[in-house]
Symmetry: C2
Subunit: 316 residues, 2 copies
């Protein structure tokens, strides 16, 4: 049995996996809000122990622990750096696998969070029969992973920044400080900032009332979904802009790489599933240059567990 860890901005999700994808136990804790990398690693170790208990196995007996992490992950060195969101943030590469390995007394491997989720879709999910595809991870930010002839393309380790594809020169401000990135239109953080700005300037929207009713302090995927159901005009407009931006970026990738399809995951991608896939396909089609191409757009199959299941694949 192996542990797969999905390290996110708000929560640490650990699954104990047997075989390829049989889940034997699970545990979840909030991601520490301060203390940097050391606090994060300590919280992961505790969550792994708890998940192992849930599976009825001794933590030290696990074959290994695989972690999907945001930030600048160096899988070969086992380090994670440039993480501005987690636990108050840290910049320098932290010896992630060494420290977590010491605490859990098992081998540890770490990789980029979108890459492990894409690996799970490639081996076990929506990408199984797609020789080449683009994974689009649509959530707080927009991540990507290119799979070519059955293999993830990592470049020199920094590939996959689909969110910072320029879709509108001189366009909307992105949380990264640039203008016109996909993420400026489609990232949940950017969409929330935009909604807040327009709301403060007097534009009517139910988004923030729905947020309070749901007892949240940010516009979660669930809040966006609710607002769309109630036909909130601002929500409809902003989500439409997001689809436009995602579709343009996907179309451009299809034109350049002639991949066989798109697999859509992430918090928002999973929440809106087949509807989102269909909207992106519709909006992408007019951008595709070769008239004989009509690539599939599919929702990720492994849902919210995909990240942790993919992480567990790291320590097979």
């Amino acid at each position: 049995m192996r542990a797969g860890v999905d390290l996110g901005g708000t929560k640490i999700e650990v699954l104990i996996v047997e075989g390829e994808r049989d889940v034997r136990g699970r545990a979840r804790r909030p991601t520490p809000t301060e203390g940097g990398a050391a606090a994060v690693v300590e919280a992961i170790a505790a969550t792994v122990e708890e998940a192992a208990d849930d599976a009825g196995v001794d933590g030290g007996r696990l074959t290994g622990v695989g972690v999907g992490s945001p930030g600048a992950v160096d899988a070969a060195a086992g380090t994670v750096g440039f993480n501005s969101n987690l636990a108050g943030g840290w910049k320098d590469p932290y010896p992630f696998t060494d420290e977590l390995g010491r605490m859990t007394e098992t081998p540890v491997r770490v990789a980029n969070d979108v890459d492990v989720a894409a690996a799970a879709e490639l081996e076990l999910g929506a990408g199984r029969d797609l020789p080449s595809f683009l994974a689009v991870w649509w959530g707080t930010g927009v991540g990507g992973c290119v799979v070519l002839a059955g293999k993830q393309w990592e470049g020199n380790g920094a590939a996959g920044e689909l969110g910072h594809t320029v879709v509108k020169l001189g366009g909307r401000l992105c949380p990264c400080g640039r203008r016109g990135c996909v993420e400026a239109y489609a990232g949940r953080a950017a969409m929330e900032a935009r909604a807040r700005h327009l709301h403060e300037r007097g534009q009517h929207t139910k988004l923030f009332d729905l947020m309070e009713k749901a007892n949240k302090d940010r516009l979660t995927s669930g809040v966006w979904e609710r607002a769309l159901k109630e036909d909130d005009r601002l929500a409809v407009e902003l989500i439409d802009d997001a689809y436009d931006a995602l579709a343009a970026a996907c179309g451009s990738v299809v034109n350049l790489l002639d991949v066989d399809g798109i697999v859509l995951g992430g918090g928002l991608g999973t929440r809106f599933g087949a509807t989102a896939a269909e909207r992106i396909r519709e909006k992408m089609r007019p951008h595709i240059f070769n008239p004989t191409r009509d690539p599939a757009v599919r929702p990720a199959e492994l849902g919210d567990d995909g990240g942790a299941i993919g992480a567990a694949l790291l320590v097979r």
Copy 2:
């Protein structure tokens, strides 16, 4: 000795190559303006014969003829279809290698024009020491070719359409009928249409006077160069827009694929060479997400002969 054919919209350029890149003979003819694929193939056969004469070799004694062609090239089938520019145009796949082989009595191979030029840069030119790069062919249109870990990525045969990367949603009209493509800003055909439109609406420019002085009927790379030297305001603006669009597309590809560099060729790319490479690098840098990346941008090394030299590599 092998023949390499660079089939272009206005001319057929044939080199007789020995070894990797020693040019032993050459010939050039205008591309037929009517008669479709059959007329093009006939003209190629005559130009090959002429180039072989120039090299002092009998045409039938050549090891083979390699052709870099625009249009929808199926290299495996040896066909070329969807060619709207050459000889009045044709749509259905034409048995290109069979027909040309019959006329020249040698083995013939055909591949996409940008791909063969990129192959020449990869083996013999600016891409020799770049494990992964994006080739940008900036001319009448904007073509591309992605080289990953030393190999050209072809997708299912339709990869490389960098010119139809969306850099401005809802932006300028592209000759392809879409909006906001790179080619709408950077393609020579689109730039000329834009200049003509603005000139007719009263905007001052020397571009068309320079064109007439040079005895041309279109805005060639040379005409653009001259106008820039004379600091023609419209020319400066349009070329600046082109650099913005090319740089955004290149930056997006670097973010997604983490390639080691960009190699810049094509009619305009070759004409403006190192200056263009430097301008694109400057304008690309702000788009690059990972602060440790600063990919090289280099002019193609083989210049105007690159296409034919690359084509000759097809029949080694």
